[in-house]
Assembly symmetry: D2
Homo-oligomer: 391 residues x 4
């Protein structure tokens, strides 16, 4: 070493570059005292050459604002191709993510993907109404499919998608990102652990202001519904996930402001009640006409759980109310946050690499499609719907 | 002045004993700088001799734990008599509140109250099923009545109570304490001001663990219902108060754990949905089987309002979520708390002293009785109920 | 019983008027389930005739805004006389608290109190500079004295006050209200329990905007100093109380805005550092020129404690940060609040009734006087002061 | 387009792939209503080929756990080489970040970097005591240097580093990450805007538990001090940044547990007070022996600001207390978080690409080195130090 070692210091390299190298992994001992939370180990990522290659289909806001940036936090997946209908935008995007011009496709090119073994999976980020046909084509081209929620426009479509993927022996996963998000996972685990007794009531809400009438989310032909399938679905799916149980009956009400042309054919506000066999009741509500609020709350026998921003991309706050001796406490768990899109994509890559069934397969999406059909049915008829038990 | 005045100090008395005396009132100038919240003026109370004298009827937990202690924070009212069925307990209580032995009554003594002009009002704190008959007797004895909620066992009883008080020309007020509590008042005012746009969704919850099977609240003959009339009523009344509107339709579900003898004939858990003419939906839930949670939340076009512990005696937390430029803010309003029982009692005393109609008269209680009958009806039949418009 | 008992109900009185009467005390069984915090027992107060009678000396804001109203929450004490220099204000106040005209005194009347055995104690609420002489006179008249903080203008005065009360065999207590406030008590107990390891650092702050130049607090002859003795004292006393230890050295800086005549002779802002024998460092600061902030924070080996509004009359928030497994938690303890003035007054009444030494006797005030003298000394000289060990 | 367009939908591609493409940038119109916070635009990143290439020097925890992962969130920078003393660890790390074997260097290789124009900058992440010599070598090799804090072991070293970089005409930036973190930036801006009046007091704290005695941070020869230069520096630098002012005098105390061999020669706990010409006082404290706490608080004339976790990698919470009419409010600003390492690295890349001086150049580090020397001097002598005004 050319520079002077400071007096009293021996073995400088190992002091400079700490860590244990073992079986191709680098790890660190815990330098903190016991009272502090131990530092997490550095992320162990696959080298780029060994990661699962994804094409991303659809270059709207979600893709550019969240999904493509999320790939940089992935450990098992990488973006290798784009599928879009607007060439200039595609080229610009590809350039900035280092994707070559030979990996840019249009919606008509799906069968050409079959010739690209480096593209193992496709993340479908297009309007709901197009999912069914696109997934069928991708399955036919031999690609594993990660499909944005809601899965489809109808349960019939959802069933066709599942069948097509089964036939083609490719994996199908629905992008229910909250299943892969650490705070939502902690809530499900805590509820189902029984530590706070049995759950009795759930409240879930998902609202935001949908301003612009031109977007496809306000076109029922493309969106397949209004607030319910787009954002209310988080309340429905989130409640089922947290309880680990399927509802036995439901009731819904739908409200569209009478003179607003945007909501002539779809629901601005949708409120519903789910009753579960164990005796839990869930009250859910969603709206395109209220300031952003995306919270999940559970009342249990021995405490309450509030997950603020449960369905948001960031900003989760988990608080637990409980008795502690002769006073009440509210305990906030400060979990390390994670990019839920990256965690979701990595989960699918992990399933592909290890031939596993994803946590949220097509069947999970199908269940929600059936429930949303029943919810619209209840809202239309004003009647409570009793659901068939799945056999 | 016999003691030495410190050097440089003149007019010691006025420096020692600051304040302005004017028209029989003492007030203080604001000593704080503008950036701090000005100190409130000292409470201006009527001298004891001029306050409205109350008898308290029923010496259960609520009376001993909250109502009698609250009188010490009243400015216009004082406790002067007790009505109870257990002599030793009555004497002990009277002794500790400085109430003389000649002011102790039993439930059979109501007509004797007529001879006591110093007892101007009676606060009825007995099981719900007894309210109707007791209020009729008290009205007949010429006493103004402040009656605990729920008003009665049925809307028919409520109507009889209103009629009896009208006939006797005495005032009838239902003890909806939240109407007199500063945080609930601030929420109603903020919602109805339009500052955050129109309300779209309301969530209200009221749960607690009812442990002991022996108490009258678990005896339907005395309580007239389960969780709904006792604690769910706060969700119903609170939603109506905040919106300033009456529901047009409702739906409800009731759950009683199948093998729990306490809930053989009454609702442990009750969930309901209210639809309002303006297009607001409210989701409410109550349970005797979940850890204490008493919160009210409103989603509006331009923000959300959360009042934690809305229906509790203390511990209110008011937070308002809104956009501020390019970020979200959550603003906590730290209002000075007040003893809501004292404020409620003083309101009734004020109405008596000035011959005014209380903010929550018998008619307010009657409205809730009718709605609770419709809610039980919906829960029994599984049907949505459309309510008649009040003419 | 004249009214109809509802069908199925027997023994109505005991159901109506629940509770156990035993040894002259009323108590209630816990009706809540185990998961909820048990309801506290109703307050057990002495009847008015048996309570300790207090005269209140000085009718400024603190007396009218906090102390006199607090007596209504006392269980062992009652206000029976007033001592003031402004007759009309005194009469008005007495009238509204039901105090007779024969119980109104001026500052010259102190020796006349000797003839009133119903006045057992006097609460001195006058400017600091008058405390010494007044307490000496009250002791000579045979009255127990509860004296507002700061105890005096100097440690010499404080010593005279202690000696006078010892000689007259009356009790002397300094009104350090935070010692009697439940949240502050919980913090001291938690720190000293060792549950979170040893404390390492304390931060205490007490600021408010002093607007009006005319008040006695801005007259050094009456106040004996600026922000330090008035509000900074809470940081000093609070740190000592929480640690249960006396500082061994200190350093201070004082700042007065150069062109503000209000602060020509006294400290607007005062910052100080205390070093304790156990190795804890405390950083404290106070100012008359900053928006209200009155917080106490302790860093310990295994967690941190933050008591927001520690030194306020209300609004205490206690949060504890700690490791929980692999994440951090922040736990808010929601203790039942109590009126700290009432708790403080009742403590003194309890000591009088049972001949006990108060928790904050004159000696506690004397210690702070000596420390404040050392702090001013350090601020003047710019030197660290080493304190003598008390033997 | 081969698939069926849903009925009623025209111009599917532009609906599928929304956004405006202009001047090589993609942007989106705001789809949200005015009441919601507008969605931010997708990140606009340089294509990998045009980014500034960085070598990272030192492969300890900070590099593997934070800095290398942060590069994936950079828009202007990319990691292209590693410099380390342990070959196997270096190869493993390089493999997982897609860095070729020809880009791995040892500490002896620095002059070889001169032949690599693709390596434009080096991020130095080695023990403090090595910075000076390493930065001089890197400057000599013509590389821009981003150097971790603390800059050096002494102000003399810091001056040498600045001179070496000036002579070599390379840029030198000290990695004060908080300057590039959005919450810290918002606090500085708010304080200096005057919106809350003038600042009066600052409290800054930075504690954590240093468990393991073997690490270089506990070797004074390598660390150049104890808690102060490592973590207390954030309090010092953060206070200066927030106030935009240099202290005029200071006082410090240092505590090392008497029997702990880890702290025989260095400070476990360090507490200091800074006085600024404008009249602000800052109280700062740091410790290696207390549970993690990294908060910054400012008291101003018209409000207070608390930034919880100010100096942490994540978890920032910004709350502002203020008067609002007749009550206090506490307003939490929920800013979008950003990876502060990525923002810091991108800032340096931006300066290199545009030939600008970084916000935290070597001179900023030098100022802190001088102040830390004065702080240690004060702690050693127990005297207040008056600092020379910079001319």
């Amino acid at each position: 070493m050319s520079h002077d070692t400071p007096p009293g210091v021996t073995n400088l390299p190992s002091i400079l570059d700490t860590g244990i190298v073992e079986n191709g992994q680098i790890s660190f001992g815990n330098w903190r005292g016991d009272a502090d939370v131990p530092e997490s180990q550095p992320p162990q990522a696959l080298p780029p050459s060994e990661r699962v290659g994804f094409a991303i289909m659809g270059l709207g806001r979600l893709t550019l604002g969240e999904i493509l940036p999320a790939f940089s936090s992935c450990r098992l997946a990488k973006p290798v191709a784009l599928i879009s209908g607007r060439p200039e935008k595609t080229r610009l995007t590809a350039h900035s993510y280092g994707i070559g011009n030979d990996s840019l496709f249009t919606y008509d090119d799906i069968q050409r993907l079959a010739d690209r073994p480096d593209i193992q999976a496709v993340y479908v980020v297009t309007p709901n109404a197009l999912h069914a046909e696109q997934v069928e084509s991708l399955a036919a081209a031999g690609k594993h499919v990660l499909c944005e929620k809601p899965m489809a426009k109808s349960s019939a479509e959802a069933q066709r998608m599942i069948a097509a993927c089964q036939k083609a022996r490719v994996k199908l996963m629905i992008a229910y990102r909250c299943h892969y998000e650490p705070f939502n996972q902690a809530v499900s685990k805590l509820v189902q652990s029984g530590e706070l007794g049995r759950p009795k009531l759930v409240e879930a809400i998902n609202t935001q202001i949908q301003g612009n009438a031109d977007q496809w989310r306000l076109k029922p032909e493309l969106a397949g519904g209004g607030a319910l399938p787009d954002i209310g679905l988080y309340c429905l799916n989130g409640t089922r996930a947290v309880l680990g149980e399927e509802p036995e009956s439901l009731f819904a009400q739908m409200i569209s402001p009478p003179n607003d042309p945007r909501y002539k054919d779809l629901d601005e506000t949708f409120s519903f009640m789910l009753r579960f066999p164990s005796g839990v009741m869930a009250n859910c509500a969603t709206s395109y006409g209220a300031y952003e609020s995306k919270d999940l709350r559970i009342q249990l026998e021995k405490g309450w759980i509030t997950l603020e921003n449960a369905f948001s991309y960031t900003g989760h706050r988990l608080r637990i109310g409980q008795r502690q001796g002769n006073h009440k406490t509210v305990n906030e768990w400060r979990l390390p946050a994670g990019n839920q899109f990256a965690l979701e994509i990595d989960h699918f890559a992990h399933c592909i690499l290890n031939d596993l069934t994803p946590r949220t397969p097509g069947e999970e999406g199908l269940r929600d499609q059936k429930l949303m059909e029943a919810l619209y049915d209840s809202a239309r008829t004003g009647r409570m719907i009793h659901l068939p038990r799945e056999s």
